[in-house]
C-alpha cells in the first residue's frame, strides 16, 4: 500500500516535470498548451460537478455560475486590490462555497427536480448581475487580468481537487452522500441528515468550481458575463455524463477527451457542433452509462482484473 502510494507520487511528479519542460521550451506548440490548460480547468469543473450530480444524485445545471463567481472575485482581488494569487483563488472559491450553501439550503430540502430549475436560474442571475455591475466592467467584462495561472498552479490545484474529492468520497461523509443518492428515505432512517449532506456536497462542488473559474480568469486574462453561460454548464455536465456518473477517473478522462475533441473540431467550422452532437448521440446509444459507468480506473485494475476490492469507492470490484 505504502509502496503503491510512493509509486503514484513519483509518477505524478514525473508527469508534472515532463510537461513543465515540454511547455517551457515550446516543444508543445502554444495552441496545444491552451488546450492543456483548458483540460486542467475542465477536469476541476467536471470532477466537482460529478460530486454533486454523480455521487449525491442532485441534478445541478448552474456550475458555470459558480465558476463565474470564482473568476470575478479572484480577478477583482488581484487586479483591483493587488492581493496575491493564492489569496484570490481561495477567496473566489470561498465566496462560491457560501453561495452554494445559500442556494442549496432552500432548494435541496425539496425532493425532485427543483434543484435543476433553481440552479438553472442561478446561472442566469449571476450573468444578469455581472452585466449590471460597472465596477467589474458590465457587459464588456474585465480585461487585462494578470496572467498568473501557470502550469504549476494549474497542476497543483487539479490534483488537490481530485484528491480532496476522492478522500471525501472514501470516508463516512462520502458514503452518506452516496447513500442519499441510492435511497434517500433509507439514508434518512439510518440516521443521516440528508439535507445537510446534499448541501455539503453541493457547496463543496461550488467551492472547486470557484477554483476552476479563478484559474480560468488568470489564464485567459479576459472574462465577460457571457464567458460563463448555460452552455458552459452544459458542457461540464456532458463531460460528467460522458465519463460516467459516479466515476471520478471517468470525469478526468472525459474532461480531457471532450476538450481535445473540441480542439480537433475547430477546423470544421460550422460542422463542429453537428459532429460534436453526433458523437454524443453515438456514445449515449452504445454506452449509456458513460465511459466508466460507476467504476474507477486504477493501475491495479489494469494488471489484475476481477479482484475483490477493499472497502472503498476507488477500489470497487467490477459488477
Amino acid at each position: 500500500m505504502k509502496q503503491r502510494n510512493i509509486l503514484i507520487g513519483i509518477l505524478l511528479i514525473a508527469f508534472y516535470l515532463v510537461l513543465y519542460f515540454a511547455m517551457g521550451n515550446n516543444i508543445i506548440p502554444p495552441f496545444q498548451q491552451v488546450n492543456i490548460y483548458l483540460m486542467g480547468i475542465n477536469i476541476i469543473a467536471a470532477v466537482s460537478l460529478n460530486l454533486i450530480v454523480g455521487f449525491t444524485g442532485q441534478l445541478a445545471l448552474g456550475h458555470a455560475g459558480f465558476m463565474a463567481v470564482g473568476a470575478y472575485v479572484s480577478a477583482v482581488l488581484t487586479m483591483k486590490l493587488g492581493q496575491p494569487f493564492l489569496v484570490a483563488i481561495v477567496a473566489g472559491a470561498f465566496v462560491s462555497f457560501l453561495l452554494g450553501i445559500l442556494i442549496g439550503l432552500p432548494t435541496l430540502r425539496l425532493k425532485g427536480d427543483y434543484l435543476a430549475i433553481a440552479t438553472l436560474g442561478f446561472g442566469e442571475i449571476i450573468r444578469g448581475v455581472l452585466v449590471n455591475i460597472d465596477y467589474v466592467g458590465g457587459a464588456a467584462g474585465m480585461n487585462g487580468i494578470p496572467k498568473l495561472t501557470n502550469w504549476t498552479w494549474l497542476y497543483v490545484f487539479t490534483l488537490i481537487t481530485i484528491f480532496a474529492i476522492k478522500n471525501f468520497l472514501n470516508s463516512t461523509h462520502g458514503r452518506a452522500c452516496i447513500a442519499v443518492r441510492d435511497n434517500e428515505i433509507a439514508a434518512e432512517t439510518m440516521g443521516i441528515n440528508t439535507t445537510r449532506y446534499k448541501v455539503l456536497a453541493f457547496s463543496m462542488g461550488a467551492f472547486f468550481a470557484g477554483i476552476a473559474g479563478a484559474l480560468y480568469a488568470h489564464y485567459f486574462f479576459l472574462i465577460q458575463p457571457t464567458t460563463f453561460t448555460f452552455n458552459r454548464s452544459f458542457d461540464i455536465l456532458v463531460m460528467v455524463v460522458f465519463g460516467g456518473l459516479g466515476s471520478l477517473t471517468g470525469s478526468v478522462l472525459a474532461a480531457m477527451a471532450v476538450t481535445a475533441l473540441n480542439a480537433l473540431l475547430i477546423d470544421f467550422g460550422g460542422l463542429r457542433m453537428i459532429i460534436y452532437a453526433l458523437l454524443l448521440i453515438i456514445i449515449m446509444v452504445f454506452r449509456p452509462q458513460g465511459l466508466l459507468g460507476t467504476k474507477e480506473f486504477t493501475f491495479r485494475s489494469l494488471f489484475r482484473e476481477k479482484e475483490g476490492g477493499t472497502a472503498s469507492v476507488k477500489d470497487k470490484s467490477p459488477n
Binding site: 478522500n167 472514501n170 463516512t172 447513500a179 441510492d182 434518512e188 432512517t189 439510518m190 440516521g191 441528515n193
Partner: protein
C-alpha cells in the same frame, strides 16, 4: 418505552390510520398484523418520522417525537427495515452497514479530507463493528459484494444488519420473512430472538407469515382499515372472531 396516543394519519379523504394506541414495553417482541392495506406500514412510517401524523402523539421514553425528522428519531434509538427492500444498491455490503454507523461514530470532515489519524481509527472501528454484525447474520463472506447483487434472502438479512448498526433500542421489522421459504423463516425466527437478547432490544414486527408471528411474538396487535380490532397473546388472537372475520370475511 414506546407509546402512541390516538395516532391518526389521513391522506386526503382516506384515513390510513385512526386513533391508534400502541404500547411497547422494554424487551418485548410484539407483532403487528392485518390484511393487506390495513395500514401497518403507514404505522411504521409514522413511528420513524417518514410521515408526519395528522393527529396524536408518539412517545419514546416519555418524549414526544412527533414532527422530528427521521434521522433525529434514529438518533433517539429507533431503527427499521423496509418491506420493499431499500438497500444502497451501489455500495458494498460492508459499506451499507457502515452508513448506519455514521450518526454515532463519525469523525470530522477535515479528518476525512486530510486523512488524519481520526480517519483511520474511525474507519477501523466502523469496519470492525460492521463485520461483527455481519458475522451474526452469516454475511461476512459477502462484505465486498455489491448490495444489489445479493440474493433476495440475503438482502433481507442485510437490511436487518444495517438497522442494527444504527444502534437502536427499538427495532421495527417490516415483513422480514417475506419471500422466504419455511426453513429460512425458521432460521430468521431464531435470529430475531437471538439479537433481541444480545442487544437488549424491543422489537415490533409486521409479518404475514403466521407461523413466525405466533411463534415468537409475546403480544399481537391486529390492524384493519387503520384501526386496532384486536390485541392480545397469540392464543387469544387465534380465536378472536373479529380477527377471523377480518382475514376470511363474514359468513354469508
Amino acid at each position: 418505552m414506546l407509546k402512541t396516543n390516538r395516532l391518526t394519519k389521513t391522506f386526503g379523504g382516506l384515513t390510513a390510520v385512526s386513533n391508534l394506541n400502541l404500547e411497547l414495553e422494554q424487551g418485548e417482541l410484539v407483532g403487528l398484523i392485518g390484511p393487506n392495506g390495513a395500514g401497518k406500514t403507514t404505522v411504521f412510517n409514522l413511528l420513524t418520522g417518514v410521515y408526519v401524523p395528522t393527529e396524536g402523539e408518539i412517545l419514546l421514553d416519555g418524549q414526544n417525537i412527533v414532527s422530528k425528522k427521521p434521522y433525529q428519531i434514529t438518533a433517539l434509538g429507533m431503527a427499521r427495515t423496509f418491506q420493499n427492500i431499500r438497500l444502497f444498491d451501489s455500495l458494498s455490503v460492508l459499506d451499507n452497514v457502515k452508513v448506519a454507523n455514521h450518526w454515532h461514530d463519525k469523525y470530522s470532515l477535515a479528518g476525512a479530507l486530510l486523512r488524519l489519524k481520526s480517519y483511520y481509527t474511525g474507519e477501523e472501528k466502523m469496519t470492525n463493528d460492521a463485520l461483527e454484525l455481519l458475522k451474526i447474520f452469516n454475511l461476512e463472506d459477502k462484505r465486498d459484494e455489491l448490495a444489489k447483487n445479493l440474493p433476495y434472502g440475503e438482502q433481507r438479512r442485510l437490511e436487518i444488519v444495517r438497522a442494527l448498526a444504527a444502534k437502536p433500542k427499538i427495532l421495527l421489522l417490516d415483513e422480514p420473512a417475506a419471500g422466504m421459504n419455511p426453513n429460512e423463516t425458521h432460521e430468521l425466527m431464531e435470529l430475531i430472538k437471538k439479537i433481541r437478547d444480545m442487544y437488549n432490544l424491543t422489537i415490533l414486527l409486521i409479518e404475514h407469515d403466521m407461523s413466525l408471528v405466533m411463534g415468537i411474538c409475546q403480544r399481537i396487535y391486529v390492524l384493519d382499515y387503520g384501526k386496532i380490532i384486536a390485541h392480545g397473546t397469540p392464543d387469544e388472537i387465534k380465536n378472536n372472531p373479529r380477527v377471523i372475520e377480518a382475514y376470511l370475511g363474514e359468513e354469508a
